[in-house]
């Protein structure tokens, strides 16, 4: 039995402690907003926040997340998250959308840390998040847009 705090709620889950957090979220808890893309931390589709840091849930053992604050796309909130999600809608970033949960979590973590990122900051922070629809130009623009709205 492992104890996880997910989106502010304590959960007890009967699962092999070595199970990647990704599959605990998706299969055990039915929180499918966090996506499986590669399973080797090469695409970022499974990005979540662990104590505010963007991490790949496919490479995080469930037991390693015990005692930490886990935030997923279903629960992400706060000034940066709201600004990012609003900018994503305003600029209509998603195409297929499958990677966008991870993109949004990564962008939110970036803006929480760096409220006014340069293109280089964005490239650095978002490099681990692959979008095969190549919505990158809009991701970049939306992060700048979110930064503006956070300022205002």
């Amino acid at each position: 039995m492992i104890r996880l705090n997910i989106n502010g709620q304590d959960r007890e889950i009967d699962v092999d402690p070595e199970t990647p957090l990704l599959w605990v979220l998706r299969d055990e808890l039915g929180m499918t907003g966090t996506k499986y893309g590669c399973g080797i931390a090469a695409c970022g589709a499974c990005t979540i926040h662990l104590d505010g840091m963007a991490v790949r849930s496919c490479q995080t053992m469930a037991s390693d997340a015990e005692g930490m604050a886990i935030v997923t796309i279903e629960g992400v909130d706060g000034k940066a998250a709201k600004a990012v999600q609003a900018a994503w809608r305003e600029l209509e970033v998603p195409q297929c959308g499958y990677c966008q949960s991870g993109q949004i979590l990564a962008a939110t973590a970036l803006l929480a840390e760096t409220p006014k990122p340069s293109d280089e900051d964005i490239d650095m922070a978002m490099s681990g998040n692959v979008c095969r629809c190549a919505t990158y130009t809009r991701i970049r623009a939306a992060i700048h847009r979110a930064a503006e709205t956070m300022e205002g």
């Binding site: 599959w23 399973g39 190549a134």
Partner: protein, 740 residues
């Protein structure tokens, strides 16, 4: 994708004229508008009632929610919104009340009018639905207006509809929901008049994408991978490393020891499947399987050996698919001859959501949940494997996490796999077949590898006088049921599109195709044959322009502005010139050199859409190139949603760039070398250039947007590198030659 299958429309038994857009009441108390099929063979033969034969395209609920049934798969290209836009336009609905839902699998009702089967591809979704869905919207509007007129006792002609509100000069007004039920009791008009383009409020302007809000909050039940059913098992299938290999023996003891594993079964002809109660144990157990493969009869050649064979074939004559004038003589007499051999690797589609499919067989019925891109074939295939009637196979289509062609396979392999596993398992239990990324990368169905050899001759004035083109490429269509429609006298149309219709003024043009057999399954990949033919034709144009000492834009102008005597070709050339001039203007084209940066230009027609692109590159100290800027001009006829067309161009450019710069599938002794996104390198945000797109205003019929952005980017980059180095990059991806 399979746009060239238009021919199939003629070949297929055409239904009698459709008695378009009758309407019908539904139990829910709303209004449903669709078309009645006047097709005895489909409706009555099934013993279906009149109401069953009614094709719903729109549902209007008493709450005023307008749901558009999308007969296509939306895998990111935006057709769910596109079709809803068409309906909202004629209905004069408000965007907020519009919803989109995927239609069930039902070929008779929801066929793609471009090719007579229910499926999505060839960038046809908007083109083939343009009239159909607008008429549905106009009919619904007329019904609502008639109901309001009756209720208010005023002439229908005095009623106006705007933004979802029905109103009359007397001050009366109402919502769609208020009149939906009354409208459902009325007769549908026999004919409706569609708006003229000057009356459009959404088409050609803007309309919010309906799927975006859900895709920014991780909404459940959006994608195939999200499907969860009670009592569901997850299956992971281990396939052979060499295509065509068979299981000789396997040891599943370690796999069975994984907690959560329910069974391990051999799936004859496919591999070994692990069934588990959830995904992770299924993946872990499949990695613990020990399988001996029998590679007798399997494809065991390496890609180097295949390229060597292809290059040799490129030196020999093959079946001819175009022969205008005497190209050999023209080239022999030319003042200058340019020659180039091109090599293209296999490519995986690499969409973000790997292949996935959930199936539940219950006696004589089966339900499937997944992003179905080819309902007609998928439904028939599932039925055939399970030995049940096709109409007993229900397909619940979900959004696709990308596809780029991958989710529509003529042999419906993923359906066969899932249905076979379900059949072998025998219990009536939902089974979700999950492809891991590794499975998805290595399972085949690649963009075919190819070799092109081109010789072109120029006269002393720098005009092209002869073109000799030989293609060596595995056929996409041979061996599939498409062969009868798509392969003629040994020529697979998808191998030659883009060369066969190359429209430059070249008096003598000769082209041949070799279609060697390789045991690697191949498939259409965003823009199909054009990924290679567009590259070759446009890169050769720059090589020829350089030999002629003429600016590449000017060289294209010269060869596009001479009347050919063929109306279709002249029209192509006029529209190509239109996008070329626009992109030249956007980029401020003043030749290939721009300070320490270099530029390349290319134009290509695919899926009846014309796209010109300029790529600007810079050279890094290590000799690799960075793509800095791309300008793109597109003419896709009427752009229903210009911003979405822009998004598709941006995405098409990025997708094409990945292939040009980084991506390749290679084989060693028949085994795929690439495994995951670590070795099958995708584009990342830092690789993405700044992109600027303009959509040309046009009154032409709408054509595709999903694919046509991809073909020009490769040659635009190649031509920029040619300008920088003097050498035309002719082997892809560019990483292979140290250029990326």
């Amino acid at each position: 994708m399979f746009h060239v299958m238009k021919r199939m429309q003629d070949a297929a038994a055409r239904p009698t004229r459709r008695n378009f857009l009758k309407m019908s009441a539904v139990a829910a108390g709303g209004l449903v508008v669709g078309s009645r099929l006047a097709v005895p063979g489909i409706a009555q033969a099934n013993g279906a009632s009149t109401e069953d034969a009614f094709t719903p395209f729109i549902r209007i609920s008493p709450e005023g929610i307008v749901t558009v049934l999308n007969k296509h798969l939306d895998m990111g290209q935006g057709n769910a919104t596109g079709l809803a836009t068409l309906v909202a336009e004629e209905l004069d609905a408000a965007p907020e009340q519009m919803r989109a839902e995927f239609a069930p699998a039902d070929t008779g009702r929801y066929k793609n009018l471009a090719f007579g089967m229910q499926g999505t591809g060839g960038s046809t979704a908007i083109a083939n639905s343009f009239e159909q869905y607008r008429k549905a919207g106009a009919t619904a509007r007329a019904m609502l207006v008639a109901a309001a007129a009756k209720a208010w006792g005023v002439p229908a002609a005095e009623i106006t509809v705007s933004g979802g509100t029905i109103s009359h000069g007397s001050g009366k007004s109402g919502t769609f929901g208020e009149f939906a039920e009354a409208a459902a009791k009325l007769e549908a008009p026999a004919e409706v008049t569609l708006k003229s383009p000057d009356q459009w409020v959404y088409i050609g302007k803007s309309f919010p994408r309906l799927d975006v809000p859900n895709k920014t909050v991780g909404a459940p039940n959006t994608y195939g991978m999200d499907v969860q059913r009670d009592d569901m098992l997850v299956a992971v299938l281990t396939r052979p490393l060499a295509f065509g290999a068979k299981v000789a023996s396997f040891d599943a003891s370690a796999a069975r020891a994984v907690k959560g594993v329910v069974d391990v079964i051999e799936v004859p002809g496919h591999g070994v499947a692990v069934l588990a109660t959830s995904t992770w144990p299924a993946i872990k157990a499949s990695e613990a399987l020990e399988i001996e493969w029998d590679e007798t009869g399997a494809e065991t050649r390496s890609s180097d050996a295949l390229f060597a064979e292809f290059r040799e074939l490129a030196e020999t004559a093959g079946p001819v698919f175009r022969d205008d004038g005497d190209a050999e003589a023209a080239i022999a007499g030319a003042a200058t001859v340019v020659e180039q051999v091109f090599e293209f690797p296999y490519l995986a589609h690499g969409m973000m959501e790997p292949m996935v499919l959930t199936i539940h067989v219950e006696g004589e019925r089966a339900s499937l949940w997944y992003p179905s891109q080819f309902q007609t074939v998928d439904q028939q295939t599932a039925a055939a494997v399970l030995g049940i009637a096709p109409e007993n196979v229900t397909i619940h289509t979900l959004y696709g996490g990308g596809s780029f062609g991958r989710r529509t396979t003529p042999d419906a392999r993923h359906i066969v796999e899932a249905a076979t596993i379900a059949k072998l398992w025998g219990k009536s239990q939902p089974i979700k077949l999950v492809y891991t990324r590794e499975d998805d990368t290595r399972a085949g169905y690649y963009r075919p590898m190819g070799v092109h050899k081109v010789r072109a001759g120029l006269d002393a004035d720098g005009n092209l006088v002869g073109w000799h083109h030989r293609i060596v490429q595995q056929s996409l269509m041979s061996g599939t049921f498409f062969e009868q429609y798509m392969v003629h006298d040994g020529i697979d149309e998808t191998s030659v599109e883009g060369v066969k219709d190359a429209s430059y003024a070249i008096p003598a043009f000769h082209a041949e195709l070799h279609s060697p057999k390789v045991g690697v399954p191949v498939l259409w990949w965003r823009s199909v044959g054009h990924t290679q033919t567009g590259y070759v034709v446009e890169a050769m144009m720059d090589k020829a322009a350089r030999a002629a000492g003429v600016d590449p834009l000017e060289f294209r102008r010269r060869h596009l502005s001479q009347p050919s005597g063929i109306a279709e070709r002249d029209k192509d050339n006029a529209r190509k010139l239109g996008v070329l001039e626009k992109v030249a203007e956007m980029s401020g084209w003043a030749g290939p050199e721009n300070g320490d940066r270099f530029r390349g230009i290319a134009v290509h027609k695919s899926f009846n859409t014309y796209v010109a692109e300029v790529a600007e590159v810079s050279r890094r100290d290590d000799g690799t190139f960075r793509i800095e800027n791309v300008w793109c001009a597109v003419d896709c006829g009427v752009a229903v949603n210009p911003d979405n067309v822009k998004a598709q161009m941006e995405g098409g450019i990025g997708y094409g760039l990945a292939a040009v710069l980084f991506s390749e599938i290679t084989l060693t002794d028949g085994h795929v070398d690439q495994v995951n996104f670590d070795s099958y390198r995708p584009m990342r945000i830092e690789d993405m250039p700044h992109v600027e797109v303009e959509v040309l205003a046009s009154a032409e019929a709408p054509s595709g947007a999903g694919e046509p952005g991809t073909p020009p980017i490769g040659p635009a980059v190649a031509n920029a590198i040619l300008a920088a180095t003097g050498e035309l990059p002719a082997v892809l991806p560019l990483t292979k030659t140290g250029l990326a």
